[in-house]
């Protein structure tokens, strides 16, 4: 598959790969929200973690791990870049179409951007849940 230069750049030099601790650690950390979306059988699993500065309400840091194709890796890498410094509301406003545009994702790879948006929302929902912040109709991580 012929990929655009931005996808290749993110695939070859992914930003913010990693996590803020093991699954068990993260569960007990109130300042971290985790989104785990996709399924191994579908060939894509994304894990996105946000670390929120609880004084300012801003996302201080974000990390990802992705099992998937080049576009899935690039989409999640880009998402972490965009999340840093944003407030929760600003993060909530990120749309998959912006990711498609920024990376010039080919049509067959649009689902990767959808998955990245899902991961962002799931991470935000997880953070809000941990901190007792009401979510819009508690929109679910999974669907």
């Amino acid at each position: 598959m012929a990929y655009g230069p931005k996808i290749i750049d993110h695939y070859e030099n992914p930003r913010n790969v990693g996590s803020f601790g093991t699954q068990a650690d993260i569960k007990n950390r109130k300042d971290v929200g985790v989104g785990l979306v996709g399924a191994p059988e579908c060939g894509d699993v994304m894990q996105l973690q946000i670390k929120v500065n609880q004084a300012t309400g801003q996302i201080e840091d974000a990390k990802f791990k992705t099992f998937g194709c080049g576009s899935a890796i690039a989409s999640s890498s880009l998402a972490t870049e965009w999340l840093k410094g944003k407030t929760l509301d600003q993060a909530e406003a990120i749309k998959n179409t912006q990711i498609v545009e920024e990376l010039s994702l080919p049509p067959v790879k649009i689902h990767c951007s959808v998955l990245a948006e899902d991961a962002i929302r799931a991470a935000l929902a997880d953070y809000k849940k941990k901190n007792g912040i009401a979510t819009e109709a508690s929109q679910t991580a999974a669907h």
Binding site: G38, P40, G43, F67, G70
Partner: protein, 416 residues
């Protein structure tokens, strides 16, 4: 003539898909394009005679490689045509009831055969023949016993590949042939991955029909041959192409003289060099498999440990996704395969059939070596693949979860 594949291109490790033409083959073919270009059917001038002489020589070269008689060689466009002609041709010839009726006869084949065998069998199934697709064992090797279990009173044909194209496993052809011979069942072998690489003797191996392609053995594309037994017993086929009656009526159509000459030369070279090539490639493949398995945990070689072709390695790597892996090893031209569904790669029915990697998300690479594969290329591939898998695992949430003791097959995933 220069050696194929410039070093600036990706290194070629996909010889099970196709091979470069041997320069000696190209050289043998060239005069037949421009000087000896006649139609072998032209019996009354030199151009026709020259072409015919070229074809006669090639027929001898092919026959010799198989220990067959020249009269038993039918030139085809390749193994797909050979398989179709052998399977449909034998089924229609030995049918127990005419078209339009059921119970026309029983055919036995394997579930992990090439599509060029499976699909003709499926067509015959629709036309009133019964077909048994025998499940493969975990190691991929079909034994005579497994085939024996599938035989019936009305079995007319058994079709089994000599070696599997994805995993390189070698089936018990000689023993299956013996079984068929005892029961008077026509035995077809798809020899595409075997012939020209490994010793072939249609007499000792008890084969009635054997198909293969030129382009897998350093010959040109668009040419192949089908061996059709003429004695003990004489095997008959209904032709698929009707016309000028070439190839003893089995295959009408003007002969592809350049292709045939190339195939003949390729067979002659194979005859002389296969032993040397096989020994060399076996060492390289073993080195590659051992090194990769040693440096990467959760990796496994697919197929039987020993009963495999010397030049094909099929290796699965847990917790990495197929397309991501292919992108990471783009300097190596090879094939991907996986029993898992990937977002963009079709799962391999062969690996699925073997039940490979059901428990962990994985990807597989088929690396097939050839006449010009060097130790340096193999070492490069080992280094590249090791690096790629490690890097992708660092990015893989599944690898982390597995290391933390989470069973990923038990996680409730959000399915799309």
């Amino acid at each position: 003539m220069t050696k194929p594949a410039a070093p600036s291109s990706p290194i070629y490790m996909d010889h099970a898909a196709t091979t470069p033409c041997d320069p000696r083959v190209v050289e043998a073919m060239l005069p037949y394009f421009t000087q000896m270009f006649g139609n072998t059917g032209s019996r009354n001038h030199k151009y026709g005679w020259d072409a015919e002489a070229g074809v006669d020589k090639a027929r001898e070269q092919v026959a010799k490689l198989l220990n067959a008689d020249e009269k038993e060689i039918i030139f085809t466009s390749g193994a797909t045509e050979g398989n179709n002609l052998a399977i449909k041709g034998a089924a229609y010839m030995y049918e127990k009831a005419p078209a339009g009726q059921a119970k026309r006869g029983h055919i036995v084949t394997g579930l992990i055969e090439h599509k060029a065998v499976l699909d003709p069998c499926k067509r015959l199934q629709k036309e009133g023949f019964d077909v048994t697709f025998v499940d493969p064992p975990v190691d991929g090797v079909y034994t005579a016993e497994m085939i024996k279990q599938a035989l019936r009173e009305d079995t007319i044909l058994v079709s089994i590949m000599w070696a599997n194209n994805e995993i390189g496993t070698i089936n018990e052809v000689r023993e299956i042939g013996k079984l068929c011979k005892e029961r008077g069942i026509v035995f077809h072998v798809d020899g595409t991955q075997w012939v020209g690489k490994m010793p072939t003797d249609v007499e000792k191996d008890n084969i009635d029909l054997l198909s293969f392609s030129g382009h897998k053995i350093y010959g040109p594309k668009g040419i192949g041959a089908l061996y059709v037994r003429r004695k003990k017993p004489r095997v008959r086929l209904q032709s698929l192409f009707d016309g000028g009656g070439q190839e003893r009526g089995f295959r009408s159509g003007t002969l592809n003289v350049t292709g045939i000459v190339g195939l003949g030369k390729a067979c002659e070279i194979a005859m002389n060099e296969m032993e040397h090539d096989a020994a060399r490639l076996f060492k390289l493949r073993k080195h590659m498999e051992d090194s990769l398995l040693k440096s990467l945990d959760y990796s496994a070689v697919n197929g039987h440990k020993d009963k495999r072709l010397p030049h094909i390695a099929n290796i699965s790597f847990g917790f990495v996704e197929g397309e991501g892996l292919m992108m990471a090893v783009k300097d190596i031209a090879c094939s991907s395969g996986s029993a898992c569904t990937s977002a963009s790669l079709e799962p391999s029915y062969v690996l699925k059939g073997l039940g490979v990697g059901d428990e962990l998300a994985h990807s597989s690479l088929r690396l097939s070596l050839g006449r010009w594969t060097t130790q340096e290329q193999v070492d490069f591939a080992i280094e590249k693949i090791t690096f790629a898998v490690k890097r992708l695992r660092e990015m893989s949430p599944l690898y982390d979860m597995h290391k933390e003791g989470i069973d990923i097959s038990k996680v409730e995933w959000a399915h799309h």
